[in-house]
């Protein structure tokens, strides 16, 4: 655009600036010459002003070289220019009556242009060197006040550099580039001229030229010394802290670079909106300790700096620091230490009001710190030292608080100190790879929690001069290095010094604190983890069925290895079996089942030395093949089902599973071969492996079961012969069984002396179901015992000691089965006898005993009854209901019954559940001496009795016929029972009702219409409580009716049948009595006084002998000990009336 040229020797030391106006419209050129160094204006480190008059360029269109130096108003003294109080004209340029003035006032922070009367324009100028000491910047702010300001179009700055340490020019004319965006030079915007790359040792001369339209003005020359114009960066990293003495402290860091000493100024304010700053000036240290900060207030603090004791500019204010003065401050607020260390914490009360003498310390708000552990530092500071701090788990840190104690209550500010006590027993483990080229080490953080801002480092040292064994806590050498952890926080050493000692530890850094873990000493050769064996092979040997395995090892590590083999079946829930201490690369082992697929793995580790196990090798599976044909067919036994009607028989074979060793290895199936007496043979393949059925049609049938696979069929097979007419050989003399424990039964048998020796024995055993239990067909188990078994044979199964079992011993001959022997085991202590024999024996004892008791009781009571009963029978004519009734007339009874016809038995019984006490007595036709001891209590009624049972009860039933019936003789009975019913049981409710009402009215037994004494329990037939039981010798023909009257009231006819059909020898027959609630006292009396209570109608003089009345108590107790009746005796009584019709003839007879 244009050039600036120096002129002649007189201008050698002149730095001149040429300001050219590059107008936006035209771009006019002007030049200014300043020739005298002494007249230069020294730029101060504060604002100064330039005010000028513009001149007309057309008038002044001369060469700049023609400018007269004398026309420039010279600054005579540099020092005076730097005088802050010098507000006089310091320089002016006159050109064609144009004058420029530079004004400087250190105290004036406002524009000097405002104070000057200028004709054309005025610029406020501030020049400074930035904090990086790299640029000289001048800020030119046009004044808006004068009229010509808006006319400014272009400003141009020229500068000249000279070395202030020498006299000559060292530079030349340079031109500062004015940023293009500022080139408009209009309005209020400031113009900024930047001189880059300044040298702090040089002096810079600047000349400004301002052009507007056709006019321009040139400012006097200005000189700048960069060192005097530095504006440093502001202080940084301001922070607030509290000293252990309780002093607030605001500190910062000096700006960088800072080539000379700095002084600081700090200001802070408590009010965020209307800041009233409190300034602290002349600070030479990098901190202040404001003493007037109040607790609970928020403060803003800033700092700035400038060159100390020399010219310079103040830096900008630093970033604000916001301070919240807490009521309680802990020093330090966060402590990181190792568990077990002592920790000291200070507590400062900033509000100063409470007395620290009343301070108590709490740990975790739950544990009061011992008073001797803390002390008072001054009036608002307390200090505590916690000894041997425990690891802070699981919260991560301990809470420590100092609180004001008031009475029993501790007032604690919500703030607390955090004590991170780290358990530094970190486990560092290393593994060297199989090729021994690297070692990887990991550490277990053990769930530690660290304060925010802390860092963890994995440190190590490698010692080549000493073995790990000799090292004792050699940790913090100068050559410690930090390991750069991998993605999984592991440290890898590569390449590896196999025999150097590697020392490793963990460091935790927090602020200025470093916590170190215990070191780990590792020699890489000791932690080798070999690669697993490879090329593993596994197979089952064909001859022995063993598992044979082989494998290979890697070349490295070179030392000896030991191997471990594990194998398992292919089942889902894999259970490994392990073979350890294998030193060869092959192993052979016996397996339980050679016919399944095995999974095999191998691993290895150093033999006779430290090292890790390798991982398991890849699993290898064995193959299953048929090794040879099955050796033996399955053992089996039979169950024969014969239909008695069709005479057809089916035989079911029950197969035992084959022993896998006998099979070798796979059985494809089973085949049954048949041979009959007619000579026909055939075979069937089994679809089931457990059972097989076939019809047995011929006299003789022989079967054998064969196992086969792809290699052939079994040659040793069991044969079963069944024959209908063959005589079974009797070979077993005795057979016994006894339960050893819940899982074992001992069996023993003895053979007849001259009998042939069986091939084997089949033992069946079966759990005998309890009464009511459903019998399962073929629920027995069986086993084959060898024939040479002469001593005990132990049978293993689950046996319940208190249950019954049946054992059957079948001798097996080549011709077929021998004669079986049976043995029962039950819980009644009669082991050794068959159940039928035992039951008969028991029954015999019971009957004998009962008979004796009965005889004695009858003998005693007969006499007593004669004397006591008859005289106490009330005269029915005295009863209100009997007034006017002629009891001698036969129809009277019927009338009496009709009288109560509307009553229902059910209601009656429900309403008066326990109305009366009644005793059923019997009449014995024969003398006691004639009775047999075996009463027909255990006699089951045969089918021949059914018609009699089913005969409907009838009033017209002839008692004569009843008498004339022949008593049935029961085979099981040892004697013939010749007992008739003497007891009269009412057949309908009317009679009962009458009897009951009589009892109720008179409180005694009524005998008006019946020879029974009203023995009708009203509700439950509770033998245990109230029943009076009499034994009786029973005519079998009457047994059914007798049973019907026992009170098995819920039993329907069918049930009766079932009961009768059941061959239960224990069933007894009873007379039962029951007392009402109201008369329970009497009952007691009755029971005690025994014979005092009449049990028969006193009026029955003809047909009734006074039977001895037994004591209900004694008899009841006896029966309960002998029989099991509760269920039956608890049945409802009411329906029995439907079943007692058979006794009606007796009633008639008795009434006669």
């Amino acid at each position: 655009m244009e050039s600036t040229t120096g002129r002649g020797g007189s201008f050698e030391k002149v730095f001149w600036l040429l300001c050219l106006a590059a107008s936006l419209q035209a771009g006019a050129v002007a030049q200014i010459f300043i020739d005298e160094d002494a007249n230069a204006f020294w730029i101060p480190p504060w604002h100064f002003s330039l005010s000028c008059n513009l001149y007309n360029e057309t008038d002044a269109g001369i060469n700049p070289s023609q400018r007269s130096p004398g026309n420039i108003n010279k600054q005579t003294n540099k020092e005076s220019a730097m005088n802050p109080h010098n507000t006089d004209l310091v320089g002016s340029g006159i050109w064609n009556e144009t004058r420029c003035h530079l004004w400087s006032d250190i105290n004036s922070q406002r524009s000097l242009c405002d104070d000057k009367v200028m004709e054309v324009f005025c610029l406020n100028i501030l020049c400074w060197v930035d904090g990086n000491l790299s640029h000289l910047t001048c800020n030119l702010m046009p004044s808006s006040r004068p009229r010509g300001t808006s006319m400014l179009s272009t400003v141009r700055l020229h500068y000249e550099i000279s070395d202030s340490s020498s006299e000559g020019l060292s530079g030349g004319h340079r031109e500062a580039v004015i940023p293009a965006f500022e080139s408009s030079c209009s309005g209020e915007k400031a113009l900024q001229c930047v001189i880059p790359g300044i040298n702090m040792n040089y002096t810079y001369t600047l000349l400004l030229s301002v052009t507007h339209h056709q006019s321009r003005v040139e400012a006097p020359a200005m000189r700048a010394t960069p060192g005097d114009l530095v504006k440093p960066h502001p202080p940084r990293s301001l922070q607030y802290e509290m000293t252990p003495e309780g002093v607030s402290r605001i500190s910062w860091r000096s700006p960088e670079p800072a080539p000379y000493d700095l002084q600081y100024e700090v200001r802070y304010s408590a009010n965020a909106t209307e800041k009233t700053w409190t300034n602290v000036e002349g600070v030479l240290e990098a901190y202040v300790t404001p003493g007037d900060l109040k607790a609970g207030l928020d403060y803003t603090a800033q700092a700035r700096c400038k060159r100390d004791r020399r010219p310079g500019l103040w830096s900008n204010w630093s970033k604000p620091l916001y301070i919240r003065v807490q009521e309680v401050t802990y020093i330090p607020a966060t402590v990181l230490t190792t568990a077990g260390s002592n920790v000291t914490v200070y507590c400062v009360f900033n509000n100063r009001s409470p007395s620290v003498k009343k301070v108590v310390w709490w740990l975790n708000a739950s544990e009061k710190v011992l008073e001797k552990l803390y002390s008072v530092m001054n009036d608002h500071v307390s200090r505590v030292t916690l000894p041997s701090v425990s690891p802070s788990k699981p919260r991560g840190y301990h809470l420590l608080q100092c609180c004001q104690q008031t009475g029993e209550t501790s007032d604690c500010n919500y703030r607390y100190a955090q004590i991170y006590a780290v358990d530094v027993n970190f486990l560092i483990s290393c593994e060297t790879n199989g090729y021994q080229t690297n070692m990887t080490c990991k550490w277990n953080p053990n769930g530690i929690q660290l304060p925010q801002g802390s860092s963890v480092r994995f440190m190590y040292r490698i010692r080549n001069d000493i073995s790990c064994d000799a090292l004792q806590d050699d940790l913090h050498g100068a050559d410690a290095k930090e390991c750069q952890l991998g993605v999984h926080d592991e440290c890898t050493f590569q390449p590896l010094y196999l025999y150097f000692c590697h020392i490793m530890w963990i460091e935790i850094h927090y602020k200025l604190v470093t916590v170190r873990s215990h070191p780990a000493y590792v020699t890489p050769m000791d932690v080798v983890k070999p690669d697993p064996p490879f090329n593993v092979k596994a197979e089952i040997t064909q001859t022995e069925g063993f598992l044979n395995m082989s494998w290979e090892r890697r070349e490295l590590p070179v030392y000896d290895l030991q191997f471990e083999v594990r194998y398992s079946g292919e089942e889902q829930d894999r259970k490994w079996k392990t073979l350890g201490n294998v030193y060869n690369e092959q192993a052979l082992m016996e397996v339980a089942d050679p016919c399944v697929v095995y999974v095999v793995q191998v691993r290895c580790k150093r033999h006779n030395g430290t090292g890790h196990w390798s991982t398991w090798s890849s699993p290898v599976n064995t193959r299953v093949n048929d090794i040879r044909a099955p050796a033996r067919g399955p053992d089996f036994w039979r169950v024969i089902h014969e239909d008695t009607v069709t005479k057809q028989a089916n035989v079911t074979l029950l197969l035992k599973p084959l022993n896998i060793k006998e099979v070798f290895c796979m059985v494809k199936g089973f085949r049954v071969q048949h041979q009959t007496s007619s000579g026909s043979t055939w075979s069937d393949d089994l679809s089931s492996t457990t059972d097989y059925s076939f019809p047995w049609t011929e006299d003789f049938h022989s079967v054998s079961v064969i196992a086969f696979n792809s290699l052939g069929s079994s040659t040793e097979n069991y044969i079963l012969n069944v024959s209908r007419h063959a005589r079974k050989i009797q070979s077993v003399q005795s057979f016994r069984a006894s339960i050893v424990n819940s899982s074992c039964v001992a069996l023993s048998w003895k053979l007849l002396p001259d009998s042939p020796l069986p091939e084997s024995f089949i033992i069946e055993w079966e759990h005998q179901k309890k009464e009511g239990g459903e019998e399962e067909e073929d629920s027995f188990k069986w086993v084959r015992a060898p024939s040479n078994q002469t001593a005990k044979y132990y049978l293993y199964d689950a046996f319940f000691v208190h249950d019954e079992y049946r054992f059957i011993l079948y001798p097996i001959f080549p011709e077929g089965e021998g004669w079986p022997e049976t043995f029962y085991i039950n819980n009644k202590g009669d082991n050794g006898r068959s159940r039928g024999e035992g039951a008969a024996y028991i029954l015999l004892l019971i009957i004998a005993f009962l008979s004796v008791v009965l005889l004695v009781a009858l003998a005693i009571s007969q006499h007593q009854m004669k004397k006591l009963v008859w005289k106490d029978v009330p005269n029915p004519n005295n009863c209100s209901w009997a007034q006017g009734v002629d009891f001698k007339k036969a129809e009277t009874i019927g009338n009496l019954f009709k009288h109560h016809k509307r009553l229902t038995s059910g209601l009656l019984l429900l309403e008066s559940e326990r109305i009366s006490e009644a005793v059923i007595v019997e009449k014995m036709k024969q003398s006691v001496e004639e009775k047999e001891t075996r009463v027909a209590l255990d006699v089951s009624l045969s089918q021949s009795h059914e018609p009699q049972q089913d005969s409907p009860p009838s009033e017209q039933h002839s008692h004569t016929e009843e008498e004339e019936r022949e008593p049935v003789v029961y085979p099981e009975s040892s004697g013939e029972p010749k007992i008739e019913y003497a007891t009269i049981l009412p057949s309908d409710l009317y009679k009962q009702q009458k009897s009951i009402s009589s009892s109720s009215d008179e409180g005694n037994f009524s005998a008006n219409n019946s020879d029974i004494s009203g023995s009708f329990p009203n509700n439950l037939w509770e033998v245990e409580n109230q029943s009076c039981i009499h034994l009786a010798q029973v005519n079998p023909q009457m047994l059914r009716s007798f049973n019907s009257s026992e009170g098995f009231s819920e039993a329907s006819e069918d049930q009766d049948d079932s009961l009768l059909d059941e061959p239960c020898p224990e069933r007894d027959i009873y007379y039962l009595g029951q007392v009402s609630t109201e008369e329970e006292g009497e009952k007691e009396k009755f029971l005690k006084e025994d014979a005092q209570v009449p049990c028969q109608d006193s009026r029955d003089e003809t047909g009734h002998e006074a039977n001895p009345l037994l004591s209900c108590h004694s008899l009841l107790q006896f029966k309960m000990n002998q029989t099991d009746l509760p269920q039956k005796s608890s049945r409802l009584y009411m329906p029995q009336f439907r079943a007692v019709s058979n006794t009606i003839p007796k009633i008639t007879k008795a009434q006669k």
Partner: protein, 158 residues
């Protein structure tokens, strides 16, 4: 033949009952809160005036204040890194909605939440002390819910 009489609860009563049940549930949750920070009964924490404290005998005065205080508790518990308070927070939000529906039923104007900048700033600057602040907040919330249960039937004002 007997005629059965049916009556449906008044919605307000139903809503109040739900609020009480929910408050009781929350109280139980707070009691069961398995905080590892067990505080001695002799220790009282101070400096937490921003957390609503209903220990005074003064009854709850309006539904709006209840809604506001529940909001403050929600803000506190959601801001602090306290464990196992998610369900309690959900209960509080639910209870807030119920209280709002109560307010709507008596034609209260929508509640304008107060500026909680100070509280947010406090929680932000003091999250380090979550154990003490969380403990106090849950304790005061429990007391506040108890008072709410007692006073809810008398709360007629917006």
């Amino acid at each position: 033949m007997l005629h059965l009489c049916y009556s449906w609860p008044v919605p307000v009563d139903k809503v109040k009952n739900e609020a009480k049940l929910l408050a009781q549930t929350t109280i139980i949750r707070i009691e069961k809160h398995t905080d590892q920070f067990k505080v001695s009964p002799n220790v009282v924490f101070s400096g937490l005036e921003l957390i609503p404290d209903s220990s005074s005998d003064k009854a709850l005065d309006s539904l709006g204040s209840v809604e506001e205080n529940l909001g403050i508790f929600q803000e506190i518990l959601s801001s602090l890194p306290v464990d196992n308070v998610d369900q309690i927070l959900a209960d509080i939000v639910n209870l807030q909605i119920i209280i709002r529906s109560l307010a709507v039923s008596i034609r209260c104007a929508p509640f304008k939440s107060r500026n909680t900048g100070q509280l947010e700033n406090f929680l932000k600057n003091n999250s380090t002390f979550q154990f003490t602040i969380g403990n106090v907040a849950l304790d005061r919330l429990q007391k506040y819910l108890l008072k709410l249960i007692r006073n809810l039937d008398q709360l007629k004002k917006c």
